[in-house]
Amino acid sequence: MDKFSVYSARLVDKTENFTSGHRACQGCAEALAVRHVMKALGRDTIVAMSTGCMEIISSPLPLTSWKVPWIHNAFENSSAVISGVEAGMKAMMRKGKLPQKKINFVAMGGDGSTADIGMGQLSGALERGHDFVYVCYDNEAYMNTGIQRSSSTPYGASTTTSPAGKLSIGQHTQKKNMAQIAVAHNIPYVATACSSYPFDLMDKVKRAAETPGAAYIHVLSVCPTGWRIPTEDAIKYGRLAVDSCVFPLYEVINGEYKLSYKPYKKLPLTEYLKGQGRFRHLTETDIRHIQEQVDRDYAKILKLCGEGK
């Protein structure tokens, strides 16, 4: 089956573990990513979720969109909470207090909770090697509080706390590379994915869940509201990010890099930037500068993956 076409959609499990009635914005590709991830994981899963868009939209008391056991505790600590869930289950099953059962332990958070406020806790959980999967849904800013910059916001993007202005290009720092930081923990599985490529995403989630020990998946999650694009273009922009090599899809299994998808023809960065309100202030010079950065970063990934140009 070709993971990068979607014509076999009907083969996907129809069970929804993340139900309709959630309050995500129209065209939210992050909610779509959650839906795909939950399809891949199935019901024998416990989810710990950080505060953020997906938590707020899925759990206004007394309602919930979740069909699996789900816990939200605070903004920065889903990785520590899932550590406790895993440790508790492990101890109780070993001691015969609970029957043995294979359960997927999964922590989820946005880029703010992952790359900024919860970074230390995630690092701790990865280092301790709990048997869990961490999924970062990266929409490249604090969207829940109104599009403030995070360390995962790309260079040049205008947000409400990194506004473009006479003296500012918008975000003036480079996007933090969380996948590479996860790799540096020597965990057995790391991957990047995007809900515009649902088969690849679901495959990676399954592989991560089957991997004993800690696994990390970084999911680019297009946010029409924050990126200032039409809602119907949410899937398209995920594809453009991958095809322009701004967001390469790859896996790192036991330290070995493997490119998941190589665009047939690498699109120029302008294809990805144009139409996004957050980049509309960029000049041609700015774009040339960013293109050079994208080329350098992509070359590095190709090299790590052992791919020729």
Partner: protein, 392 residues
Amino acid sequence: MARTRKGIEVSIAMADAVAQADVDVIAAYPITPQTHIVEHLSEIVAEGHLDAEYVPVESEHSAMSVCCGSSAVGARTFTSTSSQGLALMSEIFTIAAAMRLPMVMALANRSLSSPLSIWNDHSDVMSVRDAGWLHVFVENGQECYDNVFCGFRISEDPEVMVPLAVNLDGFILTHMIEPVIYEDDETIKKYLPPFKMKNALHPDNPVSMGCFGMPEIYTETQMSREQGVQNSYPTIVKAWKEWGDLTGRYYHPVETYKADDAEYCIVTMGSYGETAMEVVDTLRKEGEKVGVVKIRLWRPFPFEDFRRAALGKKSLIVIDRAISFGGPGGPVASELRSALYGRQGAPVIVNYIAGLAGRDVSRNDFRNIILEGKAKAAKGDTDGFTLYGLRG
């Protein structure tokens, strides 16, 4: 283990109690003066004397977060911290109570920075007074040991489901070698039933925990929480009574010593109770009609027990171990004043703040505080507080 009496460091006795309670998960981060408790627990687990997961987290914030996760799946959960550790985890400390996640914490009380100090007072626990935990104060090693079992029994009771902190004075108790009676495993088994978490996270019975509350419903969630803490009172009293029936050691929310016929009393919390009793013995011989009132249960605050002990006395001399800066004095005195306000026969309250960051409060200091306090009460000099032993 058979019933034995040992001379042992209090921290070690407390860790041994945690092991006897058959805890499933311990998550902790090193901080003085709590460290010996968790060091010993990690040894017990490493040697296979306790089958548990010891999660060596990277911060206290994570320690409390891990405890929330393990309690949510129904695992018996223990942690321990002090001072800055408590301050760092305070966000999740509150959430644990709000989500009604049972667990026991040994809170080795220590002063808060700055200046950095590792020594004992109650500024740490007072900073989380309103977080919604149950708080018990202990006086000696035996009480530390006993209250681990009582703590789990209370916290995990389906009618309670509120986390509980056993407050023990840092160094004064944690590092002291004392005689402690260890109960046999059969007694513990009889006393402490297995933890059955209501609505535990499990794929066989999925639930959502920690949902978001709009203004339309937040108030109701807080009343539910308040009732949980208030309703723990009868369970606490029953748990202590049954422990006493099994072991002969009884605990009460408010305990008194030579207070029945006393005209005035000194009020303490924690390890100061023992010194206060000794000094009261001496003063009694000198003809002073003085007694001791000890607040053992700090949350839920035992209003009725306290009023029974206090009403009819002329004055109370309250020793606080923390300052509420810019406020009405020490937090304990302030609470006691409000408990007595407008009541017939209410004693006046003289408030001393003493022993900050482990500064020694000797028997002679207690004597000074009691006699000076009595004189102040007689003069009507009862406003504010006195920082005992302050230079300048």
